[in-house]
């Protein structure tokens, strides 16, 4: 299995604070790779560097052999690298269906002028987006709320909207930031089923969480502790690892 994403010697400082030191790891194509660590370990910083929200002080992010360290967020999106947010970021004043149509943005080609005059290409594009959106609504169990404003939904549903919106553009790699935060136990179970399904359809998943339960679906997990990767392995291996136990339990 080749690496879809490689993090090479990433270091990051906020002023004098070393948040990440020389972090190396890779995400194998087709895998569900986990990244765990206690609060303050540097997970979010690393995640923001991978998704383009932050430039690292040092090091490189490599996508299929090509450096994307300095690429903008939307350019990474065109490469098939999408992320979600710890607090679900939906387009609140658009309906669920329109959120998913927005997810098809990259498939479209029409510009402002075509839009103003509602040229046939715009209608066609919109119809195609709507078709994909309806499919995704069905797949993610969002049919009942498809015409509601996304901002009016509870957190669990907003999370689904965010995932569906990311999945609709068939990304190569989805980076999920604490996908289980704010969800009930039932919703977490549903989330895991969906993630498994997305992975089976060929989407590589990078999962960042401090929630051990969600990590059950990952094949390989890296443990980040005070800015360094201290262990890598399957969850059962990690649970037996004394360094990990120490990091998590302080024992």
């Amino acid at each position: 299995m080749s690496a879809i994403l490689e993090v090479r010697r990433i270091s990051h400082r906020f002023g004098g604070l070393h948040v990440l030191r020389d972090v190396n790891f890779s995400v194998a194509e087709g895998s569900v790779t986990g990244l765990i660590g206690p609060n303050g370990a540097g997970k979010s910083t690393l995640f923001n560097i991978i998704s383009g929200f932050l430039r690292p002080t040092d090091g490189d992010v490599i996508d299929s052999g090509q450096s994307i360290t300095n690429l903008s967020i939307h350019d990474r999106s065109y490469l098939g690298l999408l992320r979600t947010f710890q607090t679900p970021q939906v387009f609140g004043n658009l309906t669920v269906r329109e959120n998913l149509i927005a997810g098809c943005y990259k498939e479209g080609r029409t510009g402002v002028i075509a839009g103003l005059f509602k040229l046939p290409a715009v209608r066609k594009e919109f119809a195609e987006g709507a078709r994909l959106a309806d499919q995704a609504c069905a797949a993610f169990g969002l049919e009942a709320v498809s015409n509601q404003l996304a901002g009016s939904l509870p957190a669990g549903k907003q999370r689904l909207v965010e995932l569906a919106r990311a999945a609709i553009s068939r990304p190569r790699l989805m980076c999920l930031d604490e996908p289980s935060s704010g969800l009930s136990a039932d919703e977490v179970a549903q989330l895991m089923l969906i993630l498994r399904h997305l992975n089976e359809t060929g989407i590589t998943i990078l999962l960042v969480s401090h929630d051990m339960q969600v990590m059950a679906i990952s094949s390989v997990t890296h443990v980040l502790y005070f800015g360094e990767i201290i262990a890598t392995g399957s969850m059962s291996e990690l649970q037996a690892d004394p360094r990990v136990r120490e990091a998590y339990l302080g024992a």
Binding site: I73, Q89, V90, G92, L94, A102, V112, G115, K118, S169
Partner: protein
């Protein structure tokens, strides 16, 4: 027979629109010249105000720079017609091109700002624009202005009275509103609304935030310039007094009063800022104060702007919610 009450309830709002159109058509025959004049200004300000409302409602950008683009349009028409004997459409397009180019050039650095800083930067643009309009006498005529701008004519029929201009400018408003609505239902429009609601997530789905903001700013400037050109034709004389910061505030006021995401509300907002000062001027020197009081009352009692009020009324009359959306664009759950 049982279906008929529902049917009539559905038809009622449409009948309302029919009556409105009919009223629009006959109004100039009934009211005096000064009121028709106000209604022409309402239409002109609606076009410019839509540009501001578009920026504010769809992108969350507060722009006080619309007076500059309104001025550029007006001066392009004035100078193009008087100095170069350009056809009206050409002068208008020159204005639109200049405004669009300036908006693009200024937009890239300025639109990186947000919130108050952005509002201040656009205010600075309005002030710089006003100073240049004043200082570049060779082009703008300074305080003396440029007069003798020919009216728009159709096959030798000049639209040189408020009455005649009224029937030109309002259909233009309808076309502009139609274009506006189309855009919102297109790929770019959805991206704009996405950017307004959650900019980070919009970037993740592939929207280039910086580019999109500039595009909307250009579009807004084009509307301002277009309105300015029509204004120059209508009044036949332009001077720097018409393009001050107060005009920029007026345009922003239209957007806010209208309810920034409402299209129909913008028309009422424009009517308010043109008609209210006119009627209040009867009361003499206190008219500015009365206008301020009226503004405060409007903001308190119509938090969703005129657009929100219309949408609510429409729903109460039993109209389709889709139409209420178009009218009011207020879709709070």
């Amino acid at each position: 027979m049982s279906a008929s009450p529902t049917f009539s309830r559905r038809l009622l709002p449409w009948a309302g629109i029919g009556i409105l159109v009919l009223a629009w058509a006959v109004v100039p025959f009934i009211v005096g010249r000064s009121i028709v004049d106000i209604l022409v200004f309402t239409a002109l300000y609606t076009i410019a105000g839509l540009g501001v409302a578009f920026l504010l409602g769809q992108c969350g950008i507060v722009s006080l720079a619309q007076s500059v683009f309104f001025g550029i349009g007006a001066y392009s028409t004035a100078y193009g017609l008087t100095a170069f004997k350009m056809p009206a459409v050409v002068a208008m397009l020159v204005g639109v091109a200049i405004s669009g180019s300036i908006a693009a050039a200024v937009g890239f650095p300025v639109l990186r700002l947000s919130g108050y800083f952005l509002a201040l930067a656009t205010l600075a643009l309005a002030i710089i624009g006003h100073v240049l309009f004043l200082e570049w006498e060779w082009l703008t005529g300074g305080t003396l202005g440029i007069g003798g701008i020919a009216p728009i004519s159709f096959y030798g029929y000049p639209l040189n009275t408020p009455f005649r201009f009224y029937y030109l400018v309002w259909p233009i408003v309808v076309v502009v509103i139609w274009l506006h609505y189309n855009l919102l239902r297109s790929r770019t429009g959805i991206a704009m609304q996405a950017m307004r609601d959650a900019p980070s997530a919009a970037a993740v789905i592939g929207v280039s935030i910086a580019h999109l903001k500039v595009k909307v700013f250009v579009l807004s400037a084009v509307l301002g310039s277009f309105a300015g050109s029509l204004f120059a034709h209508y009044v036949s004389f332009v001077s720097v007094d018409s393009f001050g910061v107060d005009k920029a505030i007026t345009f922003l006021l239209i957007a806010v009063l209208g309810g920034v995401r409402s299209i129909a509300g913008i028309v009422l907002g424009a009517l308010f800022v043109t008609a209210a000062p006119h009627w209040l001027s009867k009361f003499g020197d206190v008219h500015a104060l009365l206008f301020a009081v009226l503004l405060i009352v409007a903001v308190i009692f119509l938090p969703g702007g005129f657009g929100g009020a219309i949408a609510q009324m429409w729903r109460r009359l039993g109209g389709e919610s889709r139409v209420a959306e178009i009218l009011g664009s207020v879709r709070r759950p």
